[in-house]
Symmetry: C2
Subunit: 336 residues, 2 copies
């Protein structure tokens, strides 16, 4: 590894001049600049990112803290964020908390010790301790997907409430009244919002919710399968289902098929988020999809912005709520 001193020696100048020349700062004569360039080239000199970072006080790394990278939603998010921050020569340190909320603070501390430039996080915790921690953290943080009450941080998400509202209204327009809601666990911020969206839409349509039909599963498919199996064998079964996640929708579909029902003939089905296997499953499930790339791009842009203008100009937190998009499949039918 050639150092800046090697280059300086070969070019016959001071190290400071080399630094100036290679970074196009200060005033360096064309002749000297060329000589230095040549020397650097010849030695295969590459500045040590670490040494630069030490001087700067922080490195060109951005922490990305997620609860479950096995979820394709976060996989795609990671990929998009990466492609944006790469343009300004940043890389991502990815930490997966494996859905353990209590590891979040430890993970953030670790990132702080590494002096990352900034952190993008989809938090699980939502208690006052955590909020207090975030309020006094000395690194720029952008929250994504999930929010934390009582903090003033940039926040990017899609309109979770609107997502389920759109689905519910769509079903109502098709004539459905007995609509079943398969929700996530209420400790998830997004799960609560999606539930609200469902209730709002039902209220707006003047339909009373049958408490039996509003179940809290988890975001995985197996519980959803069981719930739907139970509800569909009920004498007064639902005519439509709103699932708050893609895996739950899939579980529901499987239960419907296994019971010998037809979707959409006997029951309509909708879900949130598309999935890698979305085009392969029949019927294609009508769903609202979050614009993952948009979320990722904004989060990435914002964190880069905060890193550049450390505590500078735009210090009031921003919020971006992206519009989910309704993608109509073949899983819903009109009833009379």
């Amino acid at each position: 590894m050639a150092t800046i001193r090697d280059v300086a020696k070969l070019a016959g100048v001071a190290t400071s001049t080399v630094s100036l020349a290679l970074n196009d700062k200060g005033s360096v004569s064309a002749r000297t600049r060329a000589r230095i360039r040549a020397a650097a080239e010849q030695l295969g000199y590459e500045p040590s990112v670490m040494a630069q970072s030490l001087r700067r006080g922080h490195n060109k790394l951005i922490g990305l803290v997620l609860g479950d990278i096995g979820n394709p939603f976060f996989g795609r998010l990671l990929r998009s964020v990466d492609s944006v921050v790469a343009e300004s020569d940043h890389m991502l340190i990815v930490a997966d908390t494996a859905s353990h909320a209590d590891r979040e603070i430890k993970t953030l501390d670790q990132l702080r010790r590494h002096r990352v430039g900034g952190i993008i996080m989809a938090p699980l915790s939502n208690d006052e301790d955590f909020a207090a921690y975030l309020r006094k953290i000395d690194v720029p943080v952008v929250l994504i997907d999930q929010y934390v009450d009582g903090v003033k941080l940039d926040y990017v998400c899609s309109d979770n409430e609107l997502a389920t509202t759109m689905l519910t209204e769509y079903l109502v327009r098709l004539g459905h009244r007995r609509i079943c809601y398969l929700g996530g666990q209420p400790h998830w911020w997004t799960a609560r919002l999606r539930l609200t969206g469902f209730r709002t839409a039902m209220a707006m349509s003047g339909i009373d919710i049958d408490p039996q039909l509003e179940v809290a599963a988890d975001f995985s498919g197996e519980r959803a399968y069981d719930h739907v199996t139970r509800l569909m064998t009920h004498p007064n079964r639902p005519t439509a289902i709103v699932a708050a996640s893609n895996l739950m929708a899939l579980g529901a579909l499987q239960a419907i098929n296994d019971l010998g029902f037809d979707c959409p003939g006997d029951v309509s089905l909708t879900g949130v988020d598309d999935v890698p296997w979305g085009n392969v499953i029949k019927p294609r499930i009508t769903s609202v999809v979050q614009p993952i790339e948009e979320l990722a791009e904004i989060a990435a842009t914002w964190i880069l912005d905060r890193i550049e203008t450390r505590g500078g100009a735009t210090n009031s937190p921003r919020t971006h709520i992206a519009m989910p998009r309704l993608v109509v499949g073949e899983s819903c039918a009109r009833i009379s």
Copy 2:
């Protein structure tokens, strides 16, 4: 941020003594040690990871280079690797090349400039240029899943050949002869091995392969859907299918259902790798699953080992080939 000098000043000693005391090196009297500990505590001193890294020559970061983090296989891999390296206080820089082989060298260079301690990589490239690059790289590298011809590096994978051999032999034992193979694109190392595994098993069983039935799709599901649709409408259709990936198996299943065939009644189906939605799809597809956690743990252990003993003791490259496991579902039937 308190520095080691602040601690030294408060404790009334030299910075070197602080370093010695906090790292339990050299000989520091108990009294002084206690005084230093107290001072550090009082100031909330945390050593700067960056400064330490600069001194050491490399940091406590490990690069993980993947082609597609949206694939749950790699998501689970990432998670397991992370949990192992976290134990020795390492974190992961994750770089997704978005399946662009030509970005791999650029990505590796970036990681080198960051002076990561080591790199775990599932490469796509497999040409001589890339091999030459890897041969002279000055950072420990462990390959995982995909190999590169002509390099001497640690390599961890599961027995891809055996995977399809197991599936094929299983089907043969059930009486199948007209077996269709849905393979991945041959530029993938694993795709080639899996194809070999199929051919070997067929040869061992003394069955001639119908070239019509050996198709190269890609690892995604849609192409598989089309191929299976075509083959199943053929007069002399296959009685069983071996799909070289999970998404292809799913695509095949969907095609089977859409054509009104029954699985496993009319055709048996097998695949490689389990999937998040595996327990929800019916019939559960018989498949061989790779022990992802095992692969990840070994790769992580090996890279940590290489980092500790830089070019030291164990310098000959190791290879670990993990046994895939056959998980029998309900997608295969015996025929006569």
